[in-house]
Symmetry: none
Subunit: 194 residues, 4 copies
DNA sequence: AATGAATGAGGCTTCATTCAT
DNA sequence: AATGAATGAAGCCTCATTCAT
């Protein structure tokens, strides 16, 4: 639907408050009226898009986490590969979700965070489900170690994502990113595993 | 200056685009005219504030990095203490800088990023200046290891900052945060140092 | 018909201009199209409702005036009883008619006033038909005296109607109003009759 | 002020809700912005106009009630003369006040009624202040009799006002109205006074 | 007979900026 | 240096009405 595409782009680019419904209807080539015929107001449109985006990605992402390896580094590698694939297949949706996640506007922050928390709990729950903790060194503080691993992965992801914004050959870059990820995982593995 | 305080708060709370010059003049109890007499337009005001904030913090922050220990973990601990102290002494300035750093509005994003990059380069340069790399395990990839350490520190900082937003006893919380930081540094130290 | 009920309420509450066809179709649970299929436009709907309301009340009201007493005070008492009864049996219709009568919107004012005038002439005609004027004091200006009586009755009616808006026990209040009416009629009777 | 004139006319003609701020600025030949620079919103403009109108009339009306005769009919005659004079000197203000008094829009109804009640209490208080009730017939129910008188005066006033709307020679009509008022007062006087 | 998608003008309000004083 | 009146575009949203199905 033209509305969905246009508004996702607008929200992803400018955030909730600065996104302009005028701009959306112009980009979608629809009339002012029809936008508010389908969506009661800006907020409802935004939250609908969020739910729509989550639903679209849910299968492709969570569905595939099930069969992952019990080695946490192996699993993180798989997850990263999935994420990159999704980023490639639904770039607008992914970008919108990221923007929504970091949305600061009070009007929607609360609603998004509620949805986000459920999602993250479910998501992180799956990520760290059935992990074989016996592979870690004896005596190590596993809870904090996993936090460190998580922060490292996120840090890497954010840095690489930034680079992608100006990329012109996405497919190639995805491969490079994945390849560049391994050395970091190796360091972590050697340091934290037996 | 009342203008500076009022506009910093406004920008920090609402971001660049949604900050209202009307609100600023109301809060600063000045006239519309004088604001645009001193600052040609909203953008110039914003960038002035950024430079002002950076200048204010520069001394307190960078000035003290010089004498820091050559043990990277010791140094990171000191830096974190400095940051928390600054956050306590200039909360508005700190908040404004953070908001400016994550500002997404196209109109100022470019200018801020340019300044940010210089700052970060200088900042990170100092953070990792004169570090004694011989303390690290033999054969470890030092560059990437330091990145992992950085991401971990940042991850911790972001998580704790989120908590601070709803705090009512800041001084006490600062101490708790610093105390809570050590276990993570310990894990990293044991894993990466000889 | 659901359309009639819904639109009467809407017009009665908000007046002609602010009544919303959107609200009407929502309340009537019909589609936008069918409303404008039956009624060319808002104005036609409004005027139809008016005629419908008048037709509905005509019988119940005018029909019963015929057999009334020739004593004007007795007749006014009966009329008031009828009015109250109608107000109780068709409150929406009555309210709509009142609102329509005082409608100020230029678009329909003219049409309503034309209908209103005919109605009033016919109505007042009947009210004062076959009245026994010989009961009045000699020498009194009967035309003006009857005007005074009319204004008094209307003044009383308006005041009591205002009270009814916040009533929770209508049936009881109707009785009280009728009972409270008599002292006024007595005063008028004693003053104007022989 | 052009704003005051233009908005009074607009509100008087169309009521609160249907009055258009666009129409006001067009008629006043000002910009959209300046209207909302002076008045925070439509409601505040409306209530300001109300207070302004009341203040303007207060002196001319209430100020002169003081020295009135203690004969209620004489006093009513004077009041009517004052009202007509005011209607002639400030027709827009008078019309606006009448419209505001009958305003039904929920948004302002409450505020207007609060102000109205104070005004009416003060107004009616003065009207019936120091009236010589000993002039009434013995045994008559004075409270209700005065209500009847009031309703009669109001009924007459409303009827005559309606006529004035289409008048082209106001001054002459005022005289005619006042002259036409006397016969009614005479009837009431003869009937209710000793 | 009935639906609801579609339109675009108009609703109130806020905006950054200018300018005469 | 300082005021605040003035502008008009743009903000979100609602409106009555039309039309293809």
């Amino acid at each position: 639907m033209r509305i969905i595409n246009a508004s996702m782009n607008e929200f992803a680019q400018k955030g909730y408050l600065n996104a302009s419904t005028n701009q959306i209807v112009k980009e979608a080539e629809i009339s002012k009226g029809i936008l508010f015929h389908y969506f009661k107001n800006k907020k409802e449109l935004f939250l609908f898009l969020y739910d729509f985006a989550v639903d679209t990605l849910k299968e492709d992402y969570f569905g595939r986490l099930d069969t992952a390896s019990s080695d946490i580094f192996e699993r993180l590698r798989q997850i990263s590969a999935y994420k990159l694939e999704i980023l490639g297949r639904f770039p607008e949706i992914y970008n919108f979700l990221m923007a929504a996640h970091f949305e600061e506007s009070g009007e929607v922050k609360h609603d998004i965070q509620k949805r986000d928390n459920e999602l993250l709990q479910k998501g992180y729950g799956k990520v760290y489900e059935n992990i074989d903790f016996s592979l870690f060194k004896e005596g190590i503080d596993i809870k904090r170690t996993i936090e460190i691993i998580t922060w490292s992965v996120e840090g890497f992801a954010i840095r690489e994502q930034e680079k992608l914004k100006h990329s012109d050959n996405l497919e190639q870059d995805y491969q490079n990113i994945l390849a560049g990820f391994d050395p970091y995982l190796d360091i972590l593995k050697k340091s934290f595993y037996k």
